[in-house]
């Protein structure tokens, strides 16, 4: 007997490969979305800083914009720079 696969419909879940569970700013899960967003994933991406701390893009942008003149990472107080 032989088994021939005609179609394999698999199920997977995606995850941001962040080392942490939740965003340090909004305390929401990384795999969820920031409080302002409705849909997770592409609509609410993560961003890493040069210090390797990850946040929801929307969260960190709000933070950065409120910090003048020089924004710092909310976690380690290092100068904030987006990871290239």
């Amino acid at each position: 007997m032989k088994v021939k696969i005609l179609k394999w419909h698999a199920v997977a879940s995606w995850t941001w490969d962040a080392q942490d569970e939740t965003c340090g700013i909004c305390r929401m899960a990384f795999d969820g979305c920031c409080p302002d967003c409705k849909f997770p994933g592409d609509d609410c991406p993560l961003i890493w800083g040069a210090c390797n701390h990850a946040f929801h893009l929307h969260c960190i942008l709000k933070w950065v914009n409120s910090q003048t003149p020089q924004p710092h990472c909310p976690m380690c107080r290092r100068e904030w720079q987006f990871k290239a």
Binding site: V3, I5, A12, W14, W16, F39
Partner: protein
């Protein structure tokens, strides 16, 4: 004519002799006259005698004596004979045999009535002689014409009174029965006549009624005894002999003083006939409205009959009306065929008959309301009828009581499935909404159903199924009332829009004034504790959700169901789900459906991503013919990529996937990572669907199964026989799971099971030569595959209860701690304490009901005990 003792003194002996002699001859003369059997010649002698006696002031004595002799004679002659006629009936009814020859009652009744009336008529003539004598005496002494009339009317009325009192005191028990059966017979005959040729008969009937109307315009009571001589046989058409006969009988009876008894008798027989008619017409058919035809029938038969009868009896139409002013109720109704102006009596009769018809029909329908509601959309005519009846009779409470008791008896029992109860509930809501738009009675009726449904575990599940099933154009369950709930969602959506408009705060004053003017008080039956009508908008979904208590539970259940559905989809077609979700969003609010929306969005995204990944294979590796046979390409793989945080807890099972597929999956994941950096895929290997083909030497079969099933059967490619232990180890699942799943293949006849050396270690072997029945079943297997999968109740998503259980276990520690400190606690106290102390993550947000469920779970695990409403730790 007073008795005057002075006058007696003034009489001399000669005068006394004269009086005595005249009195004696007056008595003789009276006897002669009365017993003379039609010989009125004696009457001539009466005049001088009466004159003499009256001359002595004995006028009243003369009258009294005369009346007394009449009475004696009437009693001894006529009355006894009259009642004797009916003895046969009483004998028969005593024996219990009521079946006489058809026209027995009619014959006997009319004959005896004729006889007694003849007698009475004769006596009245005698009375007239006396009146004449008195009158001529009066004339001789005075010119006052006034008194003449006096004698006549007073004497006749005295006589009339005497006749009726004699008859009424001697009336035998069975006489009313005879009258009733007589009228019943006649009416049936009449109604049959109408039924046979309603057109022609009716017309002629009416025609003669018209003619009848003209001579009858004389006041009643003046000469009742003349009526039959006036009309008898003169104006009736041949077809009307029946009414004529009845009229005559009624007339005679009235004449004898049986007016009210007669009326009772024909009223009761008309009502009886009407009742039969209603039962006949209404019957068990709820698909046609009957009220109209009942009304028509009332117009056509009993009213025509009554009209003819009333006219015959001299109840004049038209004239009464103007004086009585009773035009109001029916003046507007022009529907009296052939009768220009209904008389007051007729109007009263019509109202009475219609009320009776309404009541009868209403009782009939209320008794069958349960059945009517069972086939609701088809039975709406019956509902409409019932509504009209209730508007007229106002006996709504009867409906509520009777319906509730039949609900309890027939629906709210352990034997009824939750689905049936829900369907009936929905139909009830719809039907009662028609009957009573204010919803007062619905509230009363719905209460027991809701209470009952709250006690059922699968209520929520059923409701959600009803809400979501039958969605989309390809629903197979025709006539499923799931459709109707979905429709309800739709309608609700429309209403919502208009309601938004209504709630607009910019209502101008004018509109507000109009609204205020339109205010109506609640019906009296409304339960004042239940709030006013404004809050009682009838909204089926609202009422359904009301059963569960909160929409959150419903939404949660829906989410689980949706997840299950989406995970088992192999295509990305979710149009119907989107539509349902949109509708639900309108009803339950966007916020509560957010997670479901994300789930659907995941499916849409997956479709796109899947296409992107496929496109990323720039050039398919040169398709060698032999390679295609063995290798799987990415073309064979689709995937659903979910945002797991927003899905219900998914049951993960480890599973060793065959390397070929494993490679494919990692390739797919790699490509995903390339496209969506830095996101990664985590495979849920036990989820999804696999479409595969089993190729045997001479045949092949297609199945759509779960990955677990696929993995199991793929193991048999290299090795035709496995023991369950080895197979489980090779696949990487627990042995009992394997045993459960492998049953699918056994039931399909692909694998055979045999007990090996160890009773736990079964041996599964591939069935090499497929037996016949499977060959024939090949066509069906594809669809059966999915069914079998569902039947095995293999859920990819944790059920709501399991989820709840998981969430609640966090609090188990708290509860146990509490109980150790306090000893025993009530449910309320545990609930409140948890609310007070569990504020930190995860904060306690469960309902009392959920807590109770959880606690009873702990009791069944023998961790807790419950005594008199108190929870105690089990030692």
């Amino acid at each position: 004519m007073l008795w005057d003792p002075e006058a007696l003194d003034s009489l001399d002996d000669a005068a006394i002799g004269d009086v005595l002699q005249s009195w004696a001859s007056f008595c003789d003369c009276t006897d002669a006259l009365l017993c003379g059997r039609g010989d009125l010649s004696a009457g001539a002698d009466l005049v001088p005698l009466v004159a003499t006696l009256c001359g002595y002031g004995l006028c009243s004595l003369v009258q009294d004596h005369f009346l007394h002799s009449l009475e004696e004679l009437f009693k001894s002659n006529a009355v006894l004979k009259f009642w004797k006629h009916f003895d046969a009936f009483s004998d028969a009814s005593k024996l219990g045999t009521t079946d006489f020859q058809e026209n027995w009652t009619e014959e006997v009744l009319s004959k005896s009535l004729e006889e007694i009336c003849l007698e009475k008529h004769y006596q009245e003539k005698c009375l007239l002689m006396l009146v004449h004598a008195l009158q001529s005496f009066d004339e001789s002494i005075t010119d006052e014409k006034m008194k003449i009339q006096d004698y006549r009317s007073s004497l006749t009325s005295k006589y009339q009174l005497m006749v009726s009192s004699i008859l009424l005191t001697t009336v035998p028990m069975h006489f009313p029965g005879i009258l009733r059966s007589y009228f019943k017979e006649k009416l049936e005959e009449l109604s049959n006549m109408m039924a046979v040729g309603p057109e022609e008969d009716g017309c002629e009937f009416q025609f003669s009624n018209n003619r009848l109307g003209q001579p009858s315009q004389r006041p009643i009571g003046v000469g009742e005894m003349d009526i039959d001589t006036c009309y008898h046989g003169s104006t009736f058409a041949k077809n009307n002999t029946l009414v004529n006969n009845i009229g005559k009988v009624v007339c005679d009876l009235r004449n004898l003083g049986f007016t009210s008894m007669t009326e009772d008798a024909y009223a009761s027989s008309i009502l009886l006939l009407l009742k039969h008619k209603v039962h006949d017409l209404a019957g068990d058919d709820y698909r046609t409205p009957v009220l109209g035809s009942i009304k028509d029938w009332i117009q056509a038969v009993p009213l025509q009959f009554l009209h003819a009868l009333l006219v015959y009896l001299g109840d004049s139409p038209a004239q009464d009306d103007e004086s009585s002013g009773l035009k109001s109720p029916l003046a507007s109704s022009p529907s009296y065929p052939g009768i220009e102006m209904p008389s007051e009596g007729l109007v009263r009769w019509q109202l009475r008959l219609e009320y009776f018809a309404y009541e009868t029909l209403q009782d009939l329908r209320i008794g069958k309301l349960f059945e009517i509601i069972v086939d609701y959309p088809e039975s709406s005519p019956a509902i409409e009828d019932l509504k009209q009846c209730l508007e007229y009779t106002g006996q709504h409470s009867k409906l509520v009581d009777s319906f509730i008791s039949s609900l309890r008896y027939r629906l709210l029992t352990a034997g009824a499935s939750t689905n049936d109860i829900l369907h009936q509930y929905v139909s009830t809501i719809k039907a009662l909404r028609t009957i009573d738009p204010t919803g007062v009675f619905l509230e009363a009726v719905g209460e027991p159903i809701r209470d009952y449904l709250r006690g059922r575990k699968d209520t929520i599940k059923c409701i959600v199924t009803m809400l979501t099933d039958g969605s989309g154009g390809n629903s197979t369950g025709a006539g499923n009332s799931g459709d109707s709930l979905l429709e309800e969602l739709n309608r609700d959506a429309e209403n919502q829009e208009s309601a938004d408009y209504d709630d607009d705060t910019n209502l101008d004053d004018k509109q507000a004034w109009i609204n205020a003017e339109r205010w109506e008080p609640d019906p009296v039956e409304a339960d004042p504790s239940k709030g006013s009508r404004n809050r009682r908008k009838i909204d089926i979904l609202g009422m359904i959700v009301g059963i569960i208590g909160s929409k959150d539970q419903l939404v949660n259940e829906y989410r689980v169901m949706l997840a299950e559905k989406l995970l088992n989809k192999s295509d990305y077609d979710i149009d119907s789900e989107i539509r349902t979700l949109e509708l639900l969003k309108i009803h339950f609010g966007e916020g509560s459906m957010q997670k479901c929306e994300i789930m659907l969005n995941d499916l849409i995204d997956s479709k796109r991503t899947n296409a992107n990944i496929k496109a990323s294979i720039l050039q398919p590796p040169a398709p060698g013919s032999e390679q295609e046979e063995t290798c799987l390409s990415l073309d064979h793989l689709d995937s659903t990529i979910i945002s797991s945080n927003f899905w219900p807890t998914i049951q993960a099972e480890s599973l060793n996937i065959p390397t070929a597929v494993e490679q494919l999956l990692s390739d797919y994941a790699r490509r995903f990572h390339e496209i969506k950096t830095p996101r990664k895929l985590l495979w849920k290997k036990n989820l999804g669907t696999v479409k595969l083909e089993l190729q045997f030497e001479d045949t092949s079969m297609q199945f759509t199964v779960s990955p677990m099933h696929a993995v199991i059967i793929m193991q048999f490619q290299e090795q035709t026989s496995w023991t369950s232990k080895n197979l489980a180890a090779s696949i990487g699942v627990p042995i009992d799971t394997l045993n459960k799943r492998i049953n699918f293949w056994i039931s399909k006849g692909v694998l055979a099971e045999s007990v090996g050396s160890d009773s736990d270690n079964h041996i599964f072997t591939i069935v090499s030569d497929m037996v016949d029945p499977n060959k024939t079943g090949i066509n069906n297997t594809r669809c059966e595959g999915i069914l079998a999968m569902d039947e095995e109740c293999e859920r990819s998503v944790a059920s709501v209860e399991e989820q709840l259980r998981k969430e609640m276990t966090v609090y188990e520690k708290f509860i146990v701690g509490m109980l150790t400190n306090f000893g025993s606690m009530t449910l309320d106290r545990i609930h409140n304490t948890l609310k007070m102390f569990c504020v930190a993550e995860p904060s306690y947000d469960k309902s009392l009901q959920q807590l109770q469920n959880f606690l009873s779970g702990l009791i069944s695990e023998e961790k807790l005990e419950m005594r008199e409403g108190l929870y105690i730790l089990k030692k």
